[in-house]
Amino acid sequence: MHNKSISELSAGLRQGAFSSVELTRHFLDRIARHDERLNAYITRTEEAALAGARAADARIAAGEAGPLTGIPIAHKDIFCTDGIRTTCGSRMLERFTAPYDATVVSRFKQAGAVVLGKTNMDEFAMGSSNETSYYGAVRNPWDTTRVPGGSSGGSAAAVAARLCVAATGTDTGGSIRQPAALCGITGLKPTYGRVSRYGMIAFASSLDQAGPMAASAEDAATLLQAMAGFDERDSTSAQEPVPDYSAALGGDLAGVRIGLPKEYFGAGLDPAVAASVEQAIDEYRRLGAEVVEISLPNTSLAVPVYYVVAPAECSSNLARFDGVRYGHRCEAPRDLEDLYKRSRAEGFGPEVKRRIMIGTYALSAGYYDAYYLKAQQIRHLISDDFARAFREVDVILGPTTPGTAFALGEKADDPVSMYLSDIYTIAVNLAGLPGISVPVAPADGRPVGLQLIGNYFQEARLLNLAHRLQQATDWHKAAPAEFE
């Protein structure tokens, strides 16, 4: 039952082959059996899930079911859920229950999806390995001595091990695509503003974007359909019409121009990853696409720019955690300043503190022009690289990550080497473009992700390319043997 697609499950529910309660119990059993080893969930919501499943069964019986009604999913623990704890992977929010739902959460509720729980993540989404979570590292289902990637590592591991049908994630510098690549699933970061940020705990507001993580492009399209669209509660929500993503999946690729940025295939790329990506490029050629080399000359500047822009925005966003209105508060503060300083020192982990301090420094008097302003200018140059490329090609293709999943602890003491594992994903956030990671041939038994980058609001095109590849190959169907 857990290897079926959303449309197969939805058909099974409507035809009465099984009920949503049965389907939900099946996934809850799998979580109970396997999650001890993976730590993909921070909070499990068995009772709420079963109540949701019963409501979905009633809706199905009444003939009012949509494509997601009764389908068990999981939310990254960055989305506020009314009545269910939201930790954001931090001690700061260990006992925080939001008084409202994020827009993403309420849209899935309206669609009748069943929520199995909240998935583990790097603290405040700051990390690329899931090791910064206060609730412990997540393990990669393909090799439990390795990281699942991050920050949406819990969602990626849960989908890969089939501890949920699909999950939500967020992506500020690669946090959907990188763990999707390392866990062998499909993950889409939509155009900035495509999905509402309301109720999604803010990290870097000009970069943050929510998206679907699923077993296939077809499933991701169904999820994105539910998530995308204007929301007046998000001041940067895009007022663009939402196309029918599922209808566009099968489109012919004849004549589609795919650009390969030479900077994404240079030094630093694992040759085994490059070989897997080459195989997929050959598939696209067979499907009729035209493949050309392009250049994104400012690629190497994306990581440095990101580590000014993202920390600057995070230092401002995380100022709200002051020990007064919500979140952790230290014992017996001497005065107000002591209350702020100790509550924040105790509530935040080392990586979050590091980024807040870098951002504070970059924004402080005398340094603003040299860091923040300079970074915003180079951000423009990076964005212009893409604009030029999209005058020549329809889609940009490359590896999602320079290597496969690394060992737990391998990069934990070296933040800068960790940051560089996001080298191919970060520029996409800086430019605000949509990007998708799709599993291709594994390397040394470990998953490899292919990244497709589209122009603004071209999610349908990306899903189309991903789907056609998945129809022509079986790479996305591989499942980790230990969790059959």
């Binding site: 229950t97 008084p99 900035y192 503003g193 000009s206 007046e232 001041s235 940067t236 895009a238 500047l301 440095p304 720019v305 580590y307 000014v308 920390p311 100022a319 002051d322 007064v324 209105r325 919500y326 979140g327 952790h328 508060r329 001497r334 005065d335 107000l336 002591d338 209350l339 702020y340 300083k341 100790r342 924040r344 020192a345 935040f348 080392p350 503190k353 590091r354 807040i356 301090m357 870098i358 504070t360 420094y361 402080s364 860091y371 302003l373 300079k374 970074a375 915003q376 200018q377 180079i378 951000r379 423009h380 140059l381 964005s383 933040p415 800068v416 940051y419 605000g432 473009l433 603004y456």
Partner: protein, 95 residues
Amino acid sequence: MSLERADVEKIAHLARIAVDEEELDAVAGGLSNILDLVEQMKAVDTRGVEPMAHPLHMVQRLREDRVTESDQRERFQAVAPQTEAGLYLVPKVIE
């Protein structure tokens, strides 16, 4: 770019994060490594380049100036560490 202990103390104060004496060197090292990474930006000629604050060059949407939210003070204060009579409690700030 290498930060001194005194720089870290100043930054930590601005960020309102307590840093223990014995942590100062390690924190200074960690922050300096990131600043070294960021240093690459210096070599780029950005004269005349417009800073980009927002990916889609959007303008802020305006809405009608009217009340849209109802009063939910009790619900919102239920998650606060300490409240009394509808107010958030903090240590005494005025003697």
